[in-house]
């Protein structure tokens, strides 16, 4: 069996349409949203701020705390019961591990940088969208970062290697599938999140990661533009 064309007409290395905006939650120290296809993630950063209870404090540096949550009406199927699940707890943890390598929290001992990710709409690729939004929000919050973090899912659908699997591809019935969310520091090419479920050969995995690298570089350009746009629009208003 071969996977000939993608249901939504995309090329195999094409992502869904992306939209990003920074500074959309006034109360937060930094915020952003990242929309890819029908998956939409908001991220808000509060911090560095006071950390309680005291036993969580690290006297050598600040800590990063991430929370990923799907709004009850976000799923394309049944309502999602509020309160998180084991899945959302795991995603919170890998999100934290994906973002930590770019941050330098030595200037903020005993404090915490809280990242809250909320999704009003999800249709595949939600953890990656969350990471993309969170990365912009952290930069918006003025934190020291070596690089941004971009994330995308790559994988295999039957005999093709694809970028940004959509909902139908994730559950493709006519052949083997591998779904591989990847997060990277786009300018250094270093991987900070890598998960996989499905079946794939080592060679195909290499190809998929190459495609992820390119896609993440493209996403970085979008994130960069969104961050600069927050300040540019005010400049354009002056003209």
């Amino acid at each position: 069996m071969t996977y000939k064309t993608r249901a939504d007409g995309r090329k195999f290395d094409e992502t869904r349409k992306i939209e990003a905006k920074v500074g959309i939650i006034p109360n937060a120290d930094g915020s952003a949203y990242f929309k890819i296809g029908n998956t939409w993630a908001y991220a808000a950063v509060y911090g560095p701020r006071n950390l309680h209870p005291k036993f969580l404090q690290d006297p050598s540096k600040g800590i990063l705390r991430c929370n990923y949550n799907m709004m009850p009406f976000s799923s394309s199927g049944e309502r999602v019961r509020p309160g998180g699940s084991r899945r959302s707890k795991e995603i919170s943890m890998v999100t934290e591990k994906a973002l930590l390598p770019v941050l330098d929290l030595v200037e903020y001992p005993n404090s915490v940088v809280d990242v809250f990710i909320e999704l009003p709409q999800t249709e595949a690729g939600s953890r990656c969208a969350g990471i993309c939004a969170a990365s912009m929000a952290l930069a918006d919050a003025g934190l020291a970062m070596k690089d941004l973090v971009a994330a995308i899912s790559v994988g295999r659908v039957d005999d093709k290697i694809v970028v940004d699997l959509n909902y139908l591809e994730e559950s493709y019935p006519d052949g083997p599938v591998a779904d591989i969310p990847v997060a990277m520091m786009p300018n250094q090419g270093k991987i900070t999140l890598l998960q996989m479920d499905g079946l794939i050969s080592k060679d195909n995995l290499k190809k998929a990661l190459e495609m992820a690298k390119k896609a993440c570089k493209d996403i970085y350009e979008i994130q960069k533009k969104a961050l600069k746009e927050k300040y540019r629009t005010e400049a354009e208003e002056q003209v």
């Binding site: 991220a43 509060y46 009003p120």
Partner: protein, 258 residues
Amino acid sequence: MYNELKNHILKLFGSNTRLDGRSFTEYRKPFKVETGFTNTAEGSARVILGKTEVLAGVKMEIMEPYPDTQDEGSIMVGAELLPLSNPEFELGPPGIQAIELARVVDRGIRESKCIDFKKLCITEGEKAWVIVIDICPINDAGNLLDVSALAAVAAIKSAKFPKFNGEKIDYKEKTNKGIELGDLPMSVTVIKIGDKYLIDPDSDEEKVVDARLTVASLSDGTLCAMQKGGDYPLAAEDIEKMIDIGLEKGKELRKLVK
């Protein structure tokens, strides 16, 4: 804790003005109601009032009717005060503020009878629709009660039933059938600081509220739900005046959901 702030607000009252220059019965700007921001939910609405922004979504589920109302469906309202929206909000199960918010919004909708529960029944005694409304603030800059109530009503108005074949719901296929709605409830929270009555409090004003009264009303001025909050008591005259303000502002809100 907020004595300086309260004193300053009371001083501004002397000049008939508030911290941001508004009059006592003026809503912040912008004030927008948008529906259908998502296509995964059966209905959705987003309300922006000043810097406060709330999302509401409607999901529809099938339930077995309750034993004493075998021919009726139901509604359920949930609210989570997301830590994303306010540095004071903590992670965890809904606290009393979230619970009060959900229940006050629920009462406004339920008691207005804008949804006829009998029309939600599919098979008596066996299957009925339950309309589940979830409220998620994106930014809390004050007056979550009113913004949430408005978002919930707008979301219900825009909702469409998913396809149901008698056994299973297919959420991916929406029908063209909306919820048959009667007169919608409009919710206005009137606050009292000192001896003045104000609507649409911002975050600073909320810190020094003496008492508040949330009034939900129908288009002919009938009251369908009320909730008093705040640590101080209200005299009967206060309540009468606050209801009048609530009714008048309710008319203004109704135009936004048309």
